[in-house]
């Protein structure tokens, strides 16, 4: 087992691993570029990111036949750097979910234990990196979809500041929350990928003109005197005790590198789930109104009126969680309910953003767990939507605040399931985040461990 650096090594790993984990919806014969920072490095792209090669389904039946005529900006940037795009990774349908069980094309299994989920929604991307099928991957993170599967699969996953990376060519879920993120086996590789995809894009008016940092340079920079805040609310009731222990031990070890550990409080953590899901589903219900069966590929609908055509196409094209999202979002935005639900959620979001701003006035970094529990058994949450939502309790506040965060491997439970440490920074302070992640990584060998082929 090792990280593949060429298309050939990637192809060999995909051949042996793919029957066990189903990380990919489609793989390509990628031409191996010889030049560029990434020169031929095999990369997986989550299937809700547009690629000219192959299909882009977002894990949905409604896009089963859709082929994009253009590449997302992040894909263009990777290709320009010489990356070999080897395939499209399995997501939850329209990136809604925390397990890939909501993909219309089957579940991705966790390489560390194939009876368990790889996390989500970028589960295919995470499993492909963890198994050594690819060198790196892109995911998207609306409420934790990069960090959650990264944590469950023992890889590094980065959610940049909102606006740091172009959203042009990402299939929209919650437009005020969505960001593309990078996934790799090491902090430095994930930093390099972000270095390549970051920056303002004329095709995304919400992408920031802020100067792109030196992310690779920030690795191994040292963290002496850096103040790391630990919110007690991140260890509240419901936290798996082994995760709490591993994460506290990891944070404590940062002292050996000169960091100062400070207890802090983020009291609104407990309401982040309702605030996030109301906003995300409201935005999703409007974003998904474009799927009408006339555009984006073929749906076989019997002859009917135009209205019946829309209703029927959407009824058979969307899966259960997406239907739930559309219903919940439409409800939260509908006359008579919008003030109590959507607008109230958006106001509490402002309070959550202020809470993070206040915390970052006294600390450089916030650290805690990524997930309340390790990889769960396939099927255990799929029919209980609220239980699935709660898997994101500690990742969604970060998207609401718009700040950057990442998951770094910090050990394994007694059952051998991976656990991630979440490192959060203030707006556009990705460099500090990478310095801390790299300092932690340097003290351990978690990233040299590979799952055994089942």
């Amino acid at each position: 087992m090792k990280t593949p650096h060429t298309v050939e090594e990637s192809r060999d790993a995909i051949r042996v691993w793919e029957p066990h984990i189903h990380a990919f919806l489609e793989t390509f014969e990628a031409p191996a570029a010889l030049e560029g920072v990434l020169a031929g490095k095999p990369i997986a792209i989550k299937d809700n990111i547009l690629t000219k090669a192959g299909h882009t389904t977002a894990g949905s039946k409604i896009l089963e036949h859709f082929q994009s005529p253009y590449n997302a900006t992040v894909v263009e940037k990777l290709l320009h750097a010489g990356a070999a795009i080897v395939g499209k990774a399995n997501p939850d349908e329209f990136a809604m979910g925390s397990s890939t069980e909501y993909s219309a094309y089957g579940v991705t299994r966790n390489p560390w234990d194939i009876s368990r989920v790889a996390g989500g929604s970028s589960g295919g991307s995470a499993a492909a990196v963890a198994s050594g099928e690819v060198w790196g991957a892109l995911g998207t993170d609306t409420g934790g979809s990069v960090r959650h599967p990264a944590s469950l699969c023992s890889i590094v996953g980065v959610k940049p500041t909102y606006g740091r990376v172009s959203r042009h060519g990402l299939i929209s879920y919650g437009s005020s929350l969505d960001q593309a993120g990078t996934m790799a086996r090491t902090v430095e590789d994930a930093a390099l990928l972000l270095q390549i995809i970051a920056g303002q894009d004329p095709y995304d008016a919400t992408s920031s003109p802020e100067v792109v940092g030196k992310y690779v340079g920030a690795c191994n920079k040292g963290i002496t005197g850096l103040r790391v805040g630990v919110p007690e609310e991140f260890f509240a009731e419901g936290m798996h005790p082994e995760i709490a222990d591993l994460v506290r031990t990891a944070i404590d070890s940062l002292k050996d590198q000169g960091a100062i550990i400070v207890p802090i409080s983020l009291p609104l953590t407990s309401v982040a789930i309702p605030v996030y899901f109301l906003i995300a589903k409201a935005e999703a219900s409007t974003n998904l109104s474009r799927y009408d069966g006339l555009r984006y590929g073929k749906m076989n609908i019997p002859e009917a009126s135009l209205l019946e055509h829309y209703i029927h196409t959407r009824g058979i094209g969307f899966g259960p969680e997406v239907k739930r999202a559309i219903l919940m979002g439409t409800y939260a935005l509908s006359a008579g309910y919008v003030d109590a639900w959507y607008k109230q959620a958006s106001k509490v979001r402002t309070l959550i953003r202020r809470e993070y701003e206040k915390a970052f006035a006294t600390v450089d970094i916030i650290a805690g767990p990524v997930t309340p529990e390790p990889a769960f058994a396939i099927g255990s949450k799929v029919s209980d939507p609220l239980a699935m939502y709660l898997a994101d309790a500690l990742t969604v506040p970060i998207n609401l605040a718009g700040v950057p965060a990442m998951s770094v491997p910090c050990g394994f439970t007694a059952d051998g399931l991976p656990v991630g440490l979440q490192i959060i920074a203030s707006h556009f302070q990705e460099e500090k985040m990478f310095s801390v992640a790299s300092a932690y990584e340097g003290m351990h060998d978690w990233n040299t461990r590979f799952p055994a082929l089942p």
């Binding site: 036949h65 859709f66 994009s68 005529p69 253009y70 263009e76 909102y162 606006g163 005020s176 004329p202 095709y203 008016a205 919400t206 920031s208 003109p209 609104l268 309401v271 789930i273 309702p274 899901f277 109301l278 219900s285 109104s289 006339l294 590929g297 073929k298 002859e303 009917a304 009126s305 135009l306 209205l307 055509h309 829309y310 209703i311 029927h312 959407r314 009824g315 969307f318 259960p320 239907k323 739930r324 559309i326 219903l327 919940m328 439409t330 409800y331 109590a340 639900w341 109230q344 959620a345 958006s346 106001k347 509490v348 979001r349 402002t350 309070l351 939507p385 609220l386 939502y389 718009g402």
Partner: protein, 103 residues
């Protein structure tokens, strides 16, 4: 906040142009009621004089030159190659303006 009813689910699904089976209506009624009961916790948070986060980026009046960039252009052929039904270099879709027919 009152629990959501099947009638409300049908009303919302009509607004959202979404066909639901009777079973799906029952399931959605149960799911949404349970979820919204949990979510009603936000109702007790004091948000008087708090503005909503209507803008996540803090940017305004962002514009770009309206010029085509060769590396991002797709030809009409690029697009037609990806259309399921093509007739005489046009994408063929069900009729929109014909009364009660989309074939």
């Amino acid at each position: 906040m009152d629990a959501i009813t099947p009638k409300e689910v049908r009303k919302i699904s009509a607004l959202a142009r979404l066909a639901l089976t009777d079973d799906e209506v029952s399931q959605a009624t149960r799911d949404l009621s349970g979820i919204l009961e949990h979510f009603s916790a936000i109702g007790s948070i004091d948000t008087a004089n708090v503005s909503p986060t209507d803008d996540a980026s803090g940017l305004s009046n962002i514009s770009r030159e309206d010029i085509a960039h060769p590396n991002t252009l797709c030809s009409s052929q690029d697009i037609l190659d990806r259309v399921p039904n093509v007739r005489q270099d046009y994408a063929e879709v069900p009729g929109v303006f014909k009364e009660s027919s989309v074939s």
